[in-house]
Symmetry: C2
Subunit: 223 residues, 2 copies
């Protein structure tokens, strides 16, 4: 129970880099490149070649010396590792400006994500269709999410409402919450929360600006 048998033990930083690799691989494949070398990827992305090689090796696809990795195999393996190989439907809670921006983002399809339904507490929005997605009142949330068997919730409500909405999503049976509100959500075990905090990202940037010309840890410039 407390043992970790072996649940795809990919390091977290590696997972975070996978979407970046995936985009680059897709672009190269679209350009007709049948093979991709870790060195070329590293150069393109400004990363250490050894790091890229190790990350790619963990995806399970082997590379051939002097050739690289099969770009088709790589793409499939990265998608599988991320769980992006089959589209999963999500519920969006909060149809404010941020919620609408997400509804309008086409890139989600390439990331195995599709927003099936949206909810908002504002009665004025009830029934409205935004980018092909219908907005429903909050009182229908639990019932609808459960009926559609949605496993993922996207939370784009003001921070005061965040915890209450999270509770509803949990009650409806979602297993993951993508949280855009700057709040630490309290959820039962088994439910995964991933925070998307603008402030955290901005913090790194403004601190870097403050401390003048330090060699930025996020980006290395080298010849």
């Amino acid at each position: 129970m407390e043992a970790k048998p072996r649940p795809d033990a990919l390091p977290l930083p590696t997972i975070r880099r996978y979407p970046v690799y995936l985009r680059a691989v897709r672009a190269r494949r679209a350009r007709g490149e049948a093979n991709v070398s870790s060195a070329a990827l590293a150069a393109e992305l400004g990363l250490d070649p050894v790091l890229v090689r190790k990350d790619l090796a963990m995806s399970g696809v082997a590379g051939k010396p002097r050739v690289g990795h099969s770009s088709a195999a790589l793409e499939a393996a990265l998608e599988a590792a991320l769980g992006w190989d089959n589209v999963s439907d999500a519920a969006l809670v909060g149809a404010g400006s941020l919620g609408r921006a997400l509804l309008g983002y086409r890139g989600f399809r390439e990331q195995g994500l599709s927003i099936a339904v949206a909810f908002d507490g504002d009665p004025a929005l009830d029934g409205l269709e935004i980018r092909g997605v219908r907005v429903r009142p909050m009182k229908d949330l639990v019932r609808l999410v459960r009926r559609l068997s949605l496993r993922l919730g996207i939370l784009t409500v003001p921070e005061e409402a965040a915890q209450a909405c999270a509770d509803l999503l949990v009650a409806a049976g979602v297993r993951g919450i993508w949280n855009f509100a700057p709040v630490q959500l309290d959820v039962p075990p088994g439910v995964v929360v991933q925070n998307m905090d603008l402030a955290q990202s901005l913090a790194v940037l403004s601190h870097s600006l403050e401390t003048a010309a330090i060699p930025s840890p996020a980006r290395a410039r080298r010849p």
Copy 2:
């Protein structure tokens, strides 16, 4: 007041946690708590108490046993470390749905950020005022940004346009770019780029969901 011999050698993860601490401290101070203990913060945020104590210690404010840290001093120190103590003006490039969402986000003020002007390539938007911010055509970017001495650019354009817009911002003299486009920007040394990549965040979430009920590395369950 002078308790800061070493201005800036903060670890990156610490910086990322600072906004979280800052929010909690502000909330407690608003509730009238003159002092905050690291243990209480740790409990509230689900973090290890030792970690919080170390992070706070690095801000330079000392705490007193049995009492905690002065919440006013903490707030000031955290803001200073983040460079959020004085508001800096930014230019937003790309007044699409995401750009508008950011324009409408009031929280930026508390994070020392104010959007002074927006730019968009769509002539239809020229002259429009969104949330009190005027939208200007791209051709005016370099001139206007330079005249306003803006040091920060926020990039919310489609990925095809991202690099070109970044080049304009650099030409206009910005020192930092907050990049919402899923592209690795190429900028000269001295310019800091902070990527805000939805895909990277989503990756962690969907991978966690895939690998079922592993003890999530991102969140610890507290009592």
